[in-house]
Amino acid sequence: MVSIAEVQDRIFKALADPSRRAIFEALALRGGEAAVKDLTARFDISQPAVSQHLAALKDAGLVRGRREGRCAYYRLEPRGMKPLIDWIAHYRAFWTEHVDRLEQLLERMDT
């Protein structure tokens, strides 16, 4: 099982690249599906590069793609950002772990 932290890490990494962020944002603004060739027309990068960025976004679970003949289409994965905003589970583990450390510290402190 992949931990929340790992998934968050993957999302942060995928979005750390400015070109990927721009592509992700373009898909978000569009709201629906976009053809890779239309996305390529909007950016100053080659179609293979756009495809590569989309593949990275897909690996991070942020977009999904389908192929129709020679055309590839992508759209936002609606739940893709959820792991990043699944804060509560993350912070429950965070505080539990750190209060354990607090207890150890209190044992070491005098009075």
């Binding site: 979005l15 400015p18 944002e25 978000a28 990043l84 750190h98 209060v99 450390r101 607090l102 209190l106």
Partner: protein
Amino acid sequence: MNPNDKSAPSTGDSLSMEFELPHAPEKVWRALTDAALLAEWLLPVFDFKLDPGAAFTFRTQAFPGWDGTVNCRMLEIEKHRKLSYTWSVPFLDTVVTFTLAPERGGAGTRLTIVQSGFKPDQKREFGGARYGWTMMGGKLADLLGRMP
């Protein structure tokens, strides 16, 4: 799971946890308010001051696109009883509140940690120097807000 965690299930947009500590509230208070001690059990802290409104930061693990800074602002200070400050990271502004209640005639402490505000921030303009995180127009923030 910490065996001392007697938390009520957390609901909605807040997390609530309770811990029984076999130490006096005054001692627990020191661990919560001394920068050197905070660094030992929580995270390295910078500019920590017990003044309402004071801004300070914690430093946690960095990610590409985020330097790991947690931005905080002191809200409430009730010596030996209550400490509350904001806790802001990319996409999220929360408030953390520590409440200390004496137990066993002051020999122990019931420590309650409540973190509230677990909703993606829709008001903030994402990006800018604050987090070194340069994405997100309003549309995407709306989208995050509508997500389950």
